[in-house]
């Protein structure tokens, strides 16, 4: 059966639906750029919800001031993607991204001057820049060493309130743990996503609130795993706080977890209403650079899709997402066949010790670009003027050890979209429609 090919013509095609892809789309639609975004949105579910800018500079240094860290990075690792953008761009990128999330129903705190110290499900502390408003209470409670109760649920694996308490009690003596049975889920294994959805039902909230009240004791604030609703979690939380009579906060569970799923569902709902063409579950099969346009081909269960774009941002991530491929003989970029900078042989990919403070060389492999994040060809010039790359696929960074995943994604997407705008203006493609970010945000 041959189905008719569906065709889309856009100014920008964003390939990839991780944070970098979503950020690029947000920046693009805010600037009036006609955009299509393709890629499995599952990747974004890996985020804890915490948006890191930069948490760790060198081997042993967790950063309190990420901005100072960025300035040091510019001196020590000038090729790092975060060293190639200005501080003003980074701030603008976070502000614009967070404003969009907040407006769309998943409120976030603003990026500040300092990293905040956020809780992890193991009871360790992670420096990050922006947290969802439902998690801010945990940051504050930790800072104030408040009288605090952490609650977990029987059957919810990998989240133990006792663990959080055991690992923090030394510096936070007024921390206490309780285990509860989740209403309606008395037996068997619990899944955070299911719990979150059931807390959108008032009766479930009331029952859970009653159970929490029973064990409240003298606690001034209560921490829960991140299960407070899937849509508009701040409203679910406010309602629970009213019922319990104490402020609450969420602690992320192990990914893929609710905070990431919230973002995914929100993007899938909001983007189409903003005029963006989102093709969420597919992969681009081929990219062809024709004279008049870049042609992307893919297929879904309804048949083939062709996208004709003036510019492309490649935000396909690393190994986990398929943006890079590690094989027996080396690392490649499978979609376009871009050169990948990498250690000379497989022997050099990993150091001997897993937790070696220096991190593993394989993580700094990736795509090398010019200042506008245009990938370079083997000869050294831009591979194609119309092609840009953003996010973790970029070379010369170790986002895991640097605690800078969202930072790289947002900052590189910001600069790349800016360059896309200039490229479109230059080629005359859609100069008339191109608005400034400020122009859009006044609306």
């Amino acid at each position: 059966m041959i189905r008719e090919e569906r065709q889309f013509t856009v100014d920008l095609a964003v390939i990839g639906s991780g944070l970098a892809g979503f950020a690029a789309s947000i920046f693009a639609i805010n600037r009036g750029i006609r955009t299509a975004q393709i890629g499995n949105t599952g990747a974004v579910a890996y985020t804890t919800g915490y948006l890191d800018l930069f948490g760790r500079l060198a081997a042993d240094q967790l950063l309190d001031d990420p901005w100072r860290g960025l300035r040091q990075l510019a001196a020590s690792q000038p090729q790092h993607p975060l060293a190639r953008v200005t501080e003003a761009e980074v701030r603008a990128a976070f502000d614009e991204f967070v404003a969009f999330l907040t407006e769309a129903g998943v409120p976030y705190g603003q990026a500040g001057e300092r990293n905040v110290m956020a809780l992890t499900p193991a009871g360790t502390i992670k420096p990050t820049l922006c947290v969802p408003s439902t998690m801010q209470g945990g940051v504050d409670a930790l800072a104030a060493r408040a009288r605090c109760l952490i609650v977990d649920f029987r059957g919810l694996r990998g989240f133990s309130a006792r663990q959080v308490v055991a690992n923090l009690r030394q510096e936070w003596p007024q921390l206490r743990a309780e285990q509860l049975v989740f209403p309606g889920m008395e037996h068997g294994e619990l899944y955070p996503e299911v719990m979150a959805r059931s807390l959108e039902v008032p009766a479930c909230r009331e029952e859970l609130a009653a159970r929490i009240r029973d064990v409240l004791g003298d606690a001034d604030v209560v921490g829960l795993p991140a299960i407070l609703g899937m849509h508009h979690p701040h409203l679910v939380m406010a309602e629970m706080e009213r019922l319990i009579g104490r402020p609450l906060f969420e602690i992320p569970t192990m990914p893929p977890a609710v905070p990431g799923i919230r973002l995914r569902e929100m993007f899938e709902q909001v983007f189409p209403t903003r005029g963006l063409t989102l093709i969420p579950q597919q992969k681009v099969d081929a990219v062809r650079f024709a004279d008049e346009a870049v042609r992307l081909s893919l297929a879904d269960s309804y048949g083939p899709i062709a996208i004709s774009a003036q510019t492309v941002i490649l935000a396909t991530g690393r190994f986990l997402s398929g943006g890079l491929l590690a094989s027996f003989d080396g690392i490649s970029e499978p979609l376009i066949g871009l050169p990948v900078t990498q250690p000379p042989s497989r022997e050099g990919w990993f150091r001997e010790q897993y937790m070696d403070k220096e991190g593993h060389p394989v993580h700094t492999a990736g795509i090398v670009t010019d200042a506008d994040f245009r990938p370079l060809s083997a000869e050294g010039g831009p591979y194609d003027r119309r092609l840009f790359a953003a996010g973790l696929i970029l070379a010369h960074q170790d986002w895991i050890r640097g605690r800078c995943g969202a930072g790289i994604a947002l900052a590189s997407a910001f600069r790349a979209v800016d360059a896309v705008g200039r490229e479109l203006a230059r080629s005359g493609g859609q100069s008339g429609k191109h608005q400034s970010a400020e122009g859009r945000r006044d609306v």
């Binding site: 967790l62 663990q163 055991a166 510096e171 294994e189 995943g405």
Partner: protein
């Protein structure tokens, strides 16, 4: 390795003292077998290992219960021992053995004379051997290469060395209260005349020195036997070392053991084991005994050679690789390390002026019971015990807490019990929390606090494609929940466990395993910060300044 390992040095003043009839040094298959053998003769023993059960060659081999076929050319005596022992073990230790059968195959280009002699040599050693047409062999094992030119079927089997050690120790414990003590390393002997009075041992977790007083001392140190004998002043154990590297595939690619029908070389054995298969091995002379790790070159060689028998090995997904050292008994000028050195040696140290120490080393997993019997005969004679050896006739009972190492056992038992509250903690291998609870409560070694590595050794946890990166987190959190961990120890154990698992992954990370590894590191380091546990966290000081 533990986080708080004190610097290596000589023994400090002993802070504890233990007493037993026989001290057995080395918790491999051999030491565990000796412990059982002595217990069945009514002799009390204490078994120690500087790490834990199967930390040496016993935990890093193919798990092949040799029919003997592999040795018919080079060492007919070993071939006969393998046949006899295989027979016995299949009867007394069935819970550890899968009777897979095995094939010997020659491929196009292999020495045909070698292949032609095989059946006759097997017959001479009493090993059942059926010739097959190449097409018949491929019908039995579809993964075999089109290039197979000769094939024979033999009664090879596979054996789970972890369960073997656990069951031996467990029975000894039940029979006469013999004791197993992990993380206890002999560092010196105290002698009086021609008698060793006690062994000074370092507890590698606390750093303390323990004095162990015994009548008889058995050195079952495997590749470390020469070092241990030297601590007692004995120079008559002479070993060379050969490093072997093995790879574990994600899938079980064959049903039977596949051996290459040619003089032993790299990548010529593929052994099925539960849901995986194990390819190996290389053989490299080495001087290093500790911290031997697989290299990329060894991995490449094994795969290249193995492909000749089973072409799918070229594109298989590998989840792990490991290396161990074989002790080679130094005997007159053998050229090839794989030849003529697989026999074992029992050394009584009389010539060294010591009356109550013996050393057992070399040999094979397949002959561990026989090695234990010979050793126990000597020890029993020395203390005047005349009870006969019973290990060839007495069936080893099924230890409740020992069964979790068997692939597929955990899901089967879990399903049968049908308790919805018994959540699965390790999804790759379906290990439920009840298994973990039982292991920390009563598996051999549970007397002391268990690490995640110790739990993994006693179960299938961490052996699947994720190599423990998820279940390590879940098991730790479960143990916090149970109150087993009450402070940051659980975090340190998690970190050490992931570090340890990584050693076996490092050389085979490509393809899907790279994605797996990236996710693991994002969780362990990016999210949980296990790479910064010792770092001064600006965090806390900052918070305190505010409050």
């Amino acid at each position: 390795m533990m986080a708080t390992l004190p610097p290596r040095s000589g023994p400090t003043r002993p802070t504890a003292s233990l007493e037993t009839e026989v001290l057995i040094i080395g918790g491999g298959a051999t030491g565990a077998g000796i412990m059982r053998d002595l217990a069945l003769r009514g002799i009390h023993s204490l078994l120690i290992d500087k790490k834990d059960l199967c930390a040496g060659a016993s935990g890093g081999n193919h798990g092949l219960l040799h029919s003997g076929g592999r040795y018919v050319f080079s060492d007919p005596q070993s071939a006969i021992e393998c046949r006899e022992e295989g027979h016995i073990l299949k009867r007394v230790l069935p819970q550890c053995i899968e009777q897979t059968g095995g094939l010997f195959v020659a491929v196009d280009g292999d020495d045909e004379g070698f292949a032609a002699d095989f059946a006759g040599l097997c017959a001479a050693a009493g090993i059942a051997c059926t010739p097959l047409l190449p097409a018949e062999a491929r019908e039995l094992e579809p993964a075999l290469s089109e290039r197979v030119v000769a094939a024979y079927q033999v009664p090879d089997a596979t054996i789970d060395p972890f369960r073997l050690a656990l069951e031996n120790v467990n029975q000894a414990r039940l029979v006469n209260g013999s004791i197993y003590r992990p993380h206890t390393e002999v560092v010196a002997f105290e002698k009086s005349g021609d008698v060793i009075v006690s062994a000074l041992c370092r507890d590698n977790r606390s750093g303390e020195t323990v004095r162990i007083v015994a009548q008889q001392f058995v050195n079952a140190g495997g590749a470390w036997a020469m070092d241990i004998a030297r601590l007692a002043g004995c120079d008559d154990v002479r070993l060379l070392y050969s490093k072997g590297t093995l790879l574990v595939t994600h899938d079980r690619m064959i049903r039977r053991v596949i051996n290459r029908l040619r003089p032993p070389a790299d990548g010529d054995i593929l052994v099925p084991g539960g849901t995986v298969s194990i390819l190996g091995t290389t053989s490299l002379r080495t001087d290093a005994l500790n911290a031997v790790q697989p290299t990329v070159d060894e991995i490449n060689r094994n795969i290249r050679e193995g492909m000749a028998m089973v072409p799918a090995l070229a594109h298989a997904r590998y989840i792990r690789a490991f290396s161990r050292v074989r002790p080679l008994l130094q005997a007159g000028g053998g050229a090839d390390d794989r030849q003529a050195t697989r026999g074992f040696a029992l050394i009584d140290h009389h010539s060294q002026g010591i009356a109550n120490l013996c050393t057992i080393t070399g040999g094979k997993l397949t002959t561990y019971r026989l090695m234990a019997e010979k050793t126990a005969d000597l020890v029993a004679a020395r203390i005047g015990n005349t009870a006969p050896c019973r290990t060839a006739v007495d069936i080893v009972p099924d230890g409740e807490a020992c069964r979790w190492t068997e692939p597929g056992a955990a899901p089967k038992l879990w399903y049968r019990a049908g308790d919805p509250d018994d959540t699965i903690l390790c999804e790759c291998e379906m290990v439920p929390q009840s298994a973990i609870d039982q292991i920390v409560r009563c598996a051999p070694g549970a007397e002391a606090e268990m690490t995640l590595e110790a739990i993994a050794l006693r179960s299938r946890a961490g052996k699947g494609p994720c190599q423990g990166s998820f279940c390590g987190i879940r098991i730790a959190s479960h143990l916090y929940d149970r109150g087993y961990y009450r402070d940051r120890t659980g975090l340190l154990h998690m970190r050490d466990f992931f570090n340890e698992r990584f050693k076996g992954q490092r050389a085979v990370i490509w393809g899907q395993q790279m994605a797996q590894m990236e996710l693991a590191e994002a969780l362990h380091c990016g999210l949980l910060g296990l790479d910064c546990l010792d770092s001064p966290s600006e965090t806390v000081t900052e918070g305190e300044a505010q409050s």
